[in-house]
């Protein structure tokens, strides 16, 4: 098998953040690496101890920071390293994504998955799938627009800045 594959150039490369638990998905992602499975390079992982730790604020902040898609992943039910964290997360996100849907956020931009430490292949596949899906959806312009307005830094750019050396 040849090591070098032509990378397909897309018009748009989505920014995706994955919030994953340390024990299952992070380890599963490591396994994907150890197994040299290939997947899309658009995802940035933020490691947390447990899906129970993943509050909805993190997801909102990710969008505010410019994410086009968010992925939340942890242990399968009954596999949680902390026994119950993922059950709490599941219940929370069941309702939270409905809220996002209600205010008009396309919930295809927020994906949830159980990926165990053994499921390196599932992880690789998941990342590629989610990347393709979000790429299909295009940039999250709705959010980006209001987010840029809330931070009128760019508008101020043309004015020359005083320079201060630290």
């Amino acid at each position: 098998m040849s090591q070098h594959k032509e990378t397909i150039k897309h018009d748009f490369e989505p920014n995706i953040v994955a919030f994953v638990c340390n024990w299952c998905t992070y380890t599963g992602a490591d396994l994907a690496g150890t197994s040299r499975l290939k997947y899309e390079p658009n995802v940035r992982i933020i490691r947390l101890p447990c899906t129970g730790r993943i509050d909805y604020n993190l997801l909102l902040k990710a969008f505010e920071s410019g994410a086009d898609g968010v992925l939340v992943s942890g242990c399968h039910p009954n596999d949680c390293h902390y026994n119950l964290g993922n059950f709490h997360a599941r219940r929370r996100f069941t309702v939270f994504r409905q809220l996002l849907d209600f205010v008009g956020i396309d919930i295809r931009r927020i994906q949830f998955a159980w990926v165990s430490a053994a499921e390196g292949a599932k992880w690789a596949q998941l990342v590629t799938q989610v990347t393709n899906e979000v790429r299909e959806l295009g940039p999250f312009t709705n959010y980006k627009r209001i987010s840029e307005l809330s931070f009128p830094y760019k508008e101020l750019e043309p004015e020359p800045l005083e320079e201060v050396t630290a």
Binding site: E64, R90, L149
Partner: protein
């Protein structure tokens, strides 16, 4: 049949309660004020009519410091009593600290005579649990309980972008006065997440993005807790339909977990709990 004033007077005369929190006429027709009646004489000023919109249970939260050694009597409509249940559920109050004077309610109106949204789908004329009833037990009525979710149907037909458009227009108006929070009897936090600065999860400015993150947070923090008293929406002078967000949350919690906030003071709060077989179709 005992009148509200008599009940209150008796309680204060006997010294059973430190005060009776109720309604008294306001300065503008159609508005009522809160009264903290501490003497039997003051009890005569108590009133109840269709303009008694406020949910007085907010005065039971700790920040108001009304709860002391002696119980406090509170005039409650059925919806207000559900808030009391949530406060008990969430350790903010003990049942024995409050004496509930129930008032039969056929729906309330604001000062412009507009019937409150919550009343249209409410069949509960008196609370499930109370200590005294001021007035007659009213005849039961039958109202389809799903009516409370009726207003949400308009959104089903909308595309995400249309919903987005709708809400951004609403949130754009928000001035971040936090009246919605302050008026909510369940927003009893010592320090609201939005006032927390390390880190600042919600920017305090009034940009639409910052307003969106506030309103999402507010709605989600009340998910499974809000009993739908409508005080937030009433306090919002910018006319943002906050009740829709709350109702959507209530619907999701009800549909997914069969839970309705405020039904029982003993239930475990829905988001402090889970079931092994909670649905998870959305998880890959």
């Amino acid at each position: 049949m005992e009148t509200l004033q008599n009940i209150a007077q008796g309680l204060l005369e006997r010294g059973d309660v430190s005060m009776v929190i109720g309604y008294t006429p306001g300065t503008i027709p159609g508005k009522t004020k809160t009264i903290f009646a501490r003497t039997p004489e003051a009890a005569q000023k108590l009133t109840f009519n269709e303009n008694c919109v406020n949910n007085l249970s907010i005065y039971l939260t700790r920040q108001y410091g009304n709860i002391g050694e002696k119980p406090v009597a509170l005039v409650v409509k059925a919806c207000d009593a559900r808030t009391v249940n949530v406060l008990i559920q969430e350790n903010q109050l003990k049942r024995e600290q409050v004496y509930l004077i129930a008032v039969p309610c056929n729906g309330v109106k604001d000062e412009h005579g507009v019937e409150q949204g919550k009343c249209k789908s409410c069949a509960q004329r008196v609370p499930k649990d109370y200590d005294a009833l001021a007035g007659e037990t009213p005849a039961p009525v039958e109202i389809d309980p799903t009516l409370r979710f009726k207003a949400l149907e308009q959104f089903d037909a909308m595309s995400p972008d249309e919903r987005w458009e709708f809400w951004m227009k609403e949130f754009e108006k928000c001035v971040k006065c936090y009246a919605c929070r302050q008026a909510c009897p369940l927003c009893y936090c010592e320090r609201c997440i939005t006032d927390k600065t390390t880190p600042r999860w919600i920017e305090p400015d009034t940009s639409t993005a910052a307003n969106l993150s506030w309103h999402i947070t507010r709605a989600f923090h009340l998910a499974g807790r809000c009993i739908g008293c409508g005080e937030c929406e009433r306090a919002c002078h910018q006319n943002i339909p906050l009740g829709l967000l709350n109702r959507k949350m209530a619907k999701e919690v009800f549909d997914n977990f069969g839970y309705r906030a405020g039904e029982s003071a003993e239930a475990k709060p829905v988001f402090a709990d889970f079931r092994y077989d909670d649905k998870e179709e959305f998880i890959r």
